[in-house]
Symmetry: C2
Subunit: 325 residues, 2 copies
């Protein structure tokens, strides 16, 4: 493995920790516009492909049939904070399609948003599946199961019609036959198929295509409701609020993907060691280095490519920074 | 940088993430018994040297003067969970030396132990400095300030007599003049001096020396009270309960150090990217590979060199494993 340095963490005058990785920027014809590292290696995209997993929900007509709003579609593509509005929208997605919380197969965890979590615990509440950061995606999958006339139970199983349809669509947009790829179980228990990084970037380039009406609807939904995709203080939300012309999505274990519709480009990045802190500043620095932005947009992206590191007393002790800019 | 692979994280049939790093095993004469990677590079040892920071507390006579118990000395070397007994012992350390919680300069955070944290929040409590995982070390530093007749305020400052004494002693045992080394601010606001990995291992080899009476007292304290050093379910506590002849201590950003008194060896390990999950299985695999154990001890250490990875529904989805065994 000889992937290049993507991010560094400093403390005082020296670099304390280092993160290597790989990335590919690809256009809709599959041409590599920029890349470093082993972009042929297959990686698990994890939550970075929630927008791809959402495509069949739109294309099958399920979203229209159940009257899903743009806010609700945005939550289907989210790794959310479990804040009150996220929970409300997830519950609406379930109710509109005739589903209910006991059908969830994502598992429960406390809301990721600290103030929400503290309020819930102080009130004697418990962690629920609807608080799971993937509860929007799972509500979309349950709606798709209903629309397909399939048993909603077991919708997370790789052999369930919902996952088969998602695998076929995701394989198509990335030009990879997922049946021949390694498959893992994601944190929320749905399958995650391994996809070469370059093909993942190709998928996001095709997702950027103006002729892809379902993708355009998803991108517009997320652009209109960036809070739904993550939440208060979260990188995805803040970056898309600052630069609305980019679509970004994080995935566990150091994955980040992006679509740049106005330039027809897709981007995929993986940090070798799986660190989110490196993936965040890494994707911002790769994006900022592309020649497709206004000076204002580029300045915003550069701003997200580094941030201070503070300790328990809020003393700034170092910096997390992308090294590609 | 060409440090070797130390740990891998698998999911399904493939390796999802990878952690490189370096380690050195050194004897009391400074001879390298085993090493891989750049062991001349200076790293911040962070909390892995709490036992060194505790030496002046013993050697100055402060611990005897204030009547500190072995349990209390163990807490001075801890990164603890904030469980009830940790808090009780920290408060005792403060009280015996005439100090009090408002003097703490470590900052507050919620107890790391989940059940303790939930109980505290449900009861309407707030996070306090005494819950900080470093509150034992800081109570020791405050006691040392009293013993030296120094103003306890500002004891975390690198120029304070407490930190000067610690820097001199730590530099001595590691054979490094810390005045010439980079210094950062630790998570708990005390200085952390950069030390070459090989010298850090030398320090722990000398710490293993039977003639080092203060070190022997610390090792015996930790051996008698491994719960005090970390807590329920924590790696340091579990490993020292399973293999009492080893002394191990974790530090932030992927550092692990160990002393093996019966063999007169010291060990220091740093994961390049700062991941604790890799440092844990890494130190266990390096230890297990040394020819200084009974078969039972070696089997225990090997057991700690890998563990399953479970998702939100407790499904085992992969493994975290040291690759050096």
């Amino acid at each position: 493995m000889s992937n290049p340095m993507i991010a560094e963490v400093t403390r005082g005058s020296i670099v304390e920790s280092r993160h290597t990785g790989s990335y590919a920027v690809v256009n809709g014809e599959g041409q590599v516009v920029a890349a470093e590292g082993d972009v042929a290696a297959a990686i698990y995209p994890r939550s970075a492909v929630k927008a791809f997993q959402c495509l069949p929900l739109i294309e099958s007509g399920a979203a229209d049939r159940f009257g899903f709003t743009q806010e609700e579609i945005a939550l289907c593509c989210s790794s959310h904070n479990g804040e009150a509005s996220h929970v409300r929208v997830a519950q609406s997605l379930l109710a509109k399609a005739g589903n209910a919380e006991p059908l969830y197969e994502c598992g429960a965890h406390w809301p990721l948003h600290e103030a929400t979590r503290l309020e819930l615990i102080r009130g004697g509440g418990t962690s629920l599946s609807v608080h799971n950061n993937c509860s929007g995606k799972h509500a979309g999958m349950l709606a798709l199961a209903r629309h397909l006339g399939a048993d909603p139970h077991g919708y997370a199983d790789p052999a369930h019609p919902v996952q088969r349809l998602i695998a076929r669509r995701m394989g198509e947009i990335c030009s990879v036959d997922l049946d021949g790829q390694p498959v893992g179980i994601d944190g929320c228990s749905v399958p995650t198929w391994a996809i070469p990084l370059q093909n993942l970037a190709l998928g996001f380039a095709r997702f950027s295509d103006a002729d892809n009406t379902a993708a355009r609807r998803i991108i517009e939904a997320v652009r209109a409701h960036p809070f739904m995709v993550a939440g208060s203080g979260d990188f995805d939300t803040l970056l898309m609020e600052a630069v609305p012309r980019v679509f970004v999505k994080t995935g566990a274990e150091g994955v980040y993907c992006a679509a740049i519709p106005h330039a027809g480009l897709g981007l995929a990045l993986k940090i070798d060691d799986g660190a989110s802190r490196a993936a965040e500043v890494g994707i911002a620095s790769v994006l900022a280095g592309l020649d497709v932005w206004t000076p204002e947009e580029r300045a915003q992206l550069a701003r997200f490519s580094h941030h201070g590191l503070v300790n328990w007393r809020k003393i700034e002790v170092g910096e997390v920074r992308g090294v590609l800019l």
